[in-house]
């Protein structure tokens, strides 16, 4: 059997270090590099392990930005948006090509521009307006995943464009794989390229993966650790973002794909780094005051810095995420929440809230928003078993 392993997860707010029998978690010191911080706080532990037995994943500053240009809302834009979301990419804007001249050009550097439109037998989906727009935009990568017949014109007019197979097939169905792999690899390269993360190769011989990737890989095996009843939703509420992973059965979209589980990232919903935008979202939700009343606090709690305030923020984060994926808010994806059998919670939240506090919010949500007595089971992954399982499993497939 192999040696014991040390698993490290670097987040935007804290990192955790786990061995077979122990798990510890530390707030990050932003005056130090990750490596210095880690050796400072867990130096002794690190010394006990060989480089090949240390496995690291990171979600810190993770995330690329994309801008998507497509020719219709129901097909090209919808499919590309779906793929980008599932690859954990932050969508800055989606542009309907026929109106491209009406959009303002984002001033930030875009990591990757995705262009798509038309089935392979349809030609001339784009014209010069596209090239004019791109001239004004600043971006690092551009990928074309539209009609084959448009490839020559696209190549002629867009420098360094990467061309991948069309994401729309001849029956107007989605084809995910090549764009998804491309984006996942970009994301991976981005994480590895961060100076801070590069340093970490001083202590490990293994590839550093992105945390959401690791978690998503574990989902099919989740029942080896918990009695989770499918279909389920996994919420990972972190310092900067909230991730949800969910069984595909919960989506009533007509997008047919092969993956069993999908993932969504809510960039601006976190309880530390993006606390202000969480509060902003909360104040704009018409049910939040009722919820605060239900929790027996007032909105003054937003100004407070206390354990109690953190708890409330986390409860709000759960509520807001549920709203965002329900039919109450027409968002990118609506899940069939009445069919959910379990909610699995992982990440920092499990250290802060008890199962009862979480159930309290979930049942408030079902009653208020969905008018239902439905009561899914709540499972707390308080020992980071999901992440450990994924991180351990990772190197067995290498």
């Amino acid at each position: 059997m192999s040696q014991e392993k040390l698993l490290i997860d670097v987040g935007s707010t804290y990192f955790k270090v786990s061995t077979k029998n122990s798990i510890e978690q530390h707030f990050r010191d932003f005056n130090k590099s990750i490596l210095d911080d880690l050796t400072h706080k867990c130096g002794q532990k690190l010394e006990g392990f060989d480089k090949q037995d240390i496995h690291i994943c990171s979600s810190a500053n993770g995330g690329l930005s994309t801008l998507i240009i497509g020719v219709t809302n129901s097909f090209s834009l919808k499919y590309a948006t779906n793929i980008a979301f599932n690859s954990g990419i932050n969508i800055i804007d989606t542009i309907l090509f026929q109106n491209i001249e009406e959009y303002t050009i984002p001033s930030d550097l875009i990591d990757v521009v995705i262009i798509t439109g038309g089935i392979n037998s349809n030609k001339d989906n784009f014209s010069d307006e596209l090239f004019h727009y791109l001239e004004k935009l600043s971006y690092s990568n551009v990928v074309f995943v539209g009609s084959e017949l448009d490839v020559p014109t696209i190549k002629e007019n867009i420098e360094n464009v990467v061309v991948l197979p069309n994401i729309i097939d001849d029956r107007l169905h989605i084809v995910e794989d090549s764009l998804k792999n491309y984006l996942t690899n970009l994301y991976q390269q981005d994480i590895e390229g961060k100076e801070d993360i590069k340093d970490l190769y001083n202590i490990t011989d293994n590839q550093i993966f992105s945390t959401p990737y690791v978690v998503n890989k574990t989902l099919p095996f989740i029942d080896s650790k918990y009695s989770v009843v499918n279909p389920f939703v996994l919420l990972d509420i972190g310092g900067a973002t909230t991730d949800i992973h969910y069984s595909k059965d919960l989506v009533d979209e007509n997008i047919v794909t092969e993956n069993e589980y999908d993932r969504l990232v809510f960039k601006k919903l976190g309880v530390y780094k993006s606390k202000q935008s969480l509060i902003f979202a909360a104040k704009n939700n018409e049910f939040v005051y009722e919820l605060l009343m239900h929790l027996k606090v007032t909105e003054n709690i937003f100004e407070e810095q206390s354990d109690k305030a953190t708890k409330i923020l986390m409860q709000l984060a759960i509520f807001l995420v549920l709203c965002k994926i329900s039919h109450y808010k027409k968002a990118y994806v609506n899940l069939k929440l009445l069919s959910v059998n379990s909610f699995v919670l992982t990440g920092g939240i499990t250290k802060v809230l008890t199962a009862e506090e979480i159930e309290n919010i979930i049942s408030f949500f079902y009653k208020k928003i969905l008018n239902s007595e439905h009561n899914p089971a709540t499972v707390l992954d308080s020992n980071y078993d999901i992440w450990t399982l994924g991180a351990e499993g990772k190197e067995t497939c290498q």
Binding site: V71, T72, N73, S74, F75, S76, Q98, G117, G118, I119, S121, N122, K123, I168, R171, L172
Partner: protein
């Protein structure tokens, strides 16, 4: 020649849709069948993505009127639909109604061919006639 077809709105009557698909194919059309339960925007979007020449909408359960009224507004938002032949057929009103009232009304909504309770083959014949006609127009220009 490409045709996008389907049944509009919440309508789930599927039998006609299957027959239309087969008949169009038998006549040599390339068919993109969106099936039952298809919304107007999806029809128009499918025409854009496929570059179809014809949009053939069916409606059986009596919903057509409501959707018909939406057509001009939605279509005006698109910049590439002007040359598409738009056709609608099935049961275009609730109950029976007579074609003399119904046809001009739907033409007003922007349909080129309107087939209220018209036999499918007769309807498709008029489609082919219109295609021929339009091609002639193109050649004459």
């Amino acid at each position: 020649m490409k045709v996008v077809t389907g049944v509009v709105g919440n309508d789930i009557h599927v039998v006609a849709n299957r027959l239309i698909d087969l008949s169009l194919q038998a006549r040599g059309f390339e068919v993109f069948n969106l099936g039952v339960n298809t919304y107007l925007e999806e029809f128009f979007d499918a025409v854009i993505e496929t570059g179809a020449d014809v949009l053939l909408i069916s409606s059986l359960n009596g919903e057509a009127e409501g959707w018909g009224r939406e057509v001009p507004l939605l279509k005006a938002k698109y910049k590439k639909l002007d040359d598409v032949i738009m056709m609608i057929g099935g049961n275009l009103v609730v109950g029976t109604g007579n074609a003399e009232d119904i046809v001009p009304r739907y033409e007003g909504y922007g349909f080129d061919i309107v087939c209220h309770q018209v036999d499918l083959n007769t309807g498709l014949d008029s489609l082919e006639a219109m295609i021929k006609e339009r091609h002639l127009e193109v050649r004459n220009n």
